[in-house]
């Protein structure tokens, strides 16, 4: 798209939002269509693919045996990594993770970790020595906006689909047995992202909205409505009132999504 057409379109998006409307016809607090598929990568211990409109994110989980951190000797370890692979967008480049993919991974990690979604104490094999390490790899396949919500949702869906190997300890050595146990998940943190455009908040911004937004705020809430993670982004600001309004809406939208997905 030439940059002049882009600018005309951006103006249009901003003007519509001032009137409470969006270019793609959604209400300000309406999500695009959400599709979740689980168990699509047999090689992985768990996997899911989420479509949020045209935004497409795949998450695979891997379970390995490793060492616990010294300050949590009885708990398993979570490692979240995100790759903005270059086939997903003309703006993504091959190479080591940049600040955007690192922020994405850390925001997804925060939602899962702070809500204590995984029962980490059940991932301990031998206190202080051996625990299960859960790798969550977020793979963005098509970028049409709001990667945070799509990635957080795909990560949760993949974790809910993840199986841990059965094992027994024989002569101090861990032996993997046949069969699997589901990864113990007790919370369902859902992240809801808002863009601020023309001083209004819109939920689930698509790519063209992200290009005109002044700032972004992502809020993760737990099943009971408590907030467990927040991240403001972008080079604009929010008023204190907008922040509190966003928190309230985030809680409602998260409940809606949980209900829709039967989680």
């Amino acid at each position: 798209m030439s940059s002049m057409i882009t600018r005309v379109k951006q103006k249009q998006i901003a003007q519509l939002i001032a009137k409470g409307k969006r270019l793609d016809g959604r209400a300000l607090t309406e999500y695009r269509e959400i599709k979740v598929e689980q168990g699509i990568i047999e090689r992985a211990e768990g996997s899911a693919r989420v479509l949020l409109g045209k935004t497409e994110v795949m998450v695979g989980t891997k379970i390995e045996i490793g060492q616990p951190f010294s300050d949590t000797p009885n708990e398993g370890v979570l490692t979240v990594n995100a790759e903005l692979v270059p086939l997903a967008s003309p703006t993504f480049e091959p190479g080591p993770p940049d600040e955007n993919s690192i922020e994405l991974a850390r925001v997804v990690d925060r939602g899962i970790r702070e809500s204590k979604a995984i029962e980490f104490d059940k991932l301990c094999i031998e206190p202080g020595k051996k625990v299960f390490v859960v790798f969550v790899d977020v793979y963005v396949l098509n970028h049409d906006g709001n990667l945070i919500d799509a990635s957080a949702l795909a990560a949760l869906a993949a974790l809910l689909n993840t199986k841990m190997p059965n094992y027994e300890i024989e002569d101090g050595e861990v032996k993997i047995k046949s069969g699997y146990t589901p990864l113990p998940i007790k919370k369902h943190p859902i992240t809801v992202t808002f863009a601020k455009i023309n001083d209004k908040l819109v939920v689930d911004p698509w790519l063209e909205e992200e290009q005109v937004m002044e700032a972004r705020i992502s809020i993760a809430t737990e099943d009971d409505g408590n907030i467990c993670a927040i991240q403001k982004g972008g080079s604009g600001y929010f008023t204190p009132k907008q922040v509190l309004e966003a928190a309230k809406i985030a809680k409602e939208k998260a409940q809606e999504i949980r209900k829709k997905l039967n989680w």
Partner: protein, 244 residues
């Protein structure tokens, strides 16, 4: 490649997954699957799941890398961390760097590079699940993604391996056959030009066995070529339907 005692071909002459020696795995191909890329394709071949996308032709940065008389083709073959049994670090391995090079050199002969001087095309391949023969499936998909992007081509490139397991020459090795079989010969072909654009081998084959394997692989390429054309046709019909 290492020969072990496991039986890969049973008494009836069938392979671990029930295939006959000269039989391809089930293949599913879809063209135009990604909205951002200029061209894209998705392939499932056995348990392989692979996406290919094209971006370009586009400007070259820094400019002194551009070529005055032809386009530059760049290629990145990359595996998702969850695509294999043990988690793979997302940093490119030496294997991925070599495969990126041979895949690029398998596609280059098919493109009219001189049509767009001073530009570059990026081929991005992501292996979402690997099951043996990913380089061939990647070439098959990438060549369709190039066509989907409207890049002028002399022919499609279809790729398929043949090899030897348990003294039998077989087509389209899956992961276990690749790992414990006796030899693997991946081949890429432009069928209309009878031009081999990728050829590698590891394992051990006599000259005669090698000739058999190459011929079987070429046969496989031609079958896959037919599926590529079907997939392209399906894409055009789809596009038309959407446009109407």
């Amino acid at each position: 490649m290492s020969q072990k005692s496991e039986k890969l071909i049973d008494k009836k002459g069938l392979r671990l997954d029930g295939r006959k020696p000269n039989e391809l795995r089930p293949i599913k191909i879809e063209v135009g699957v990604l909205s951002n890329a200029d061209g894209s394709a998705y392939i499932e071949q056995g348990k392989n799941k692979i996406l290919a996308a094209i971006y370009g032709p586009k400007e070259v940065h820094p400019k002194h890398l551009a070529l005055p008389d032809r386009m530059i083709l760049r290629c990145r073959y990359h595996m998702a961390p969850f695509s294999v049994q043990e988690r793979k670090s997302p940093a490119p391995s030496r294997r991925e760097i070599e495969l990126s090079k041979v895949i690029r050199e398998a596609l280059e002969p098919a493109i009219f590079l001189e049509y767009y001087p001073r530009t570059a095309i990026d081929v991005f391949v992501e292996v979402l699940q690997a099951d043996g023969g990913t380089r061939c499936a990647s070439i098959t998909a990438a060549s369709l993604a190039l066509a989907d992007a409207g890049i002028p081509m002399k022919d499609l490139v279809a790729a398929c391996a043949a090899g030897k397991v348990d003294d039998t020459i077989v087509l389209d090795l899956m992961d276990t056959e690749d790992k414990i079989g006796a030899a693997d010969v991946p081949v890429a072909l432009m069928p209309n030009l009878d031009a081999i654009t990728l050829l590698q081998m590891d394992g051990t084959l006599s000259l005669e066995e090698f000739e058999q394997a190459v011929n079987l692989a070429l046969e496989g390429c031609r079958k896959i070529y037919a599926m590529q054309k079907e997939a392209l046709k399906a894409r055009y019909v789809n596009v038309k339907e959407v446009e109407e």
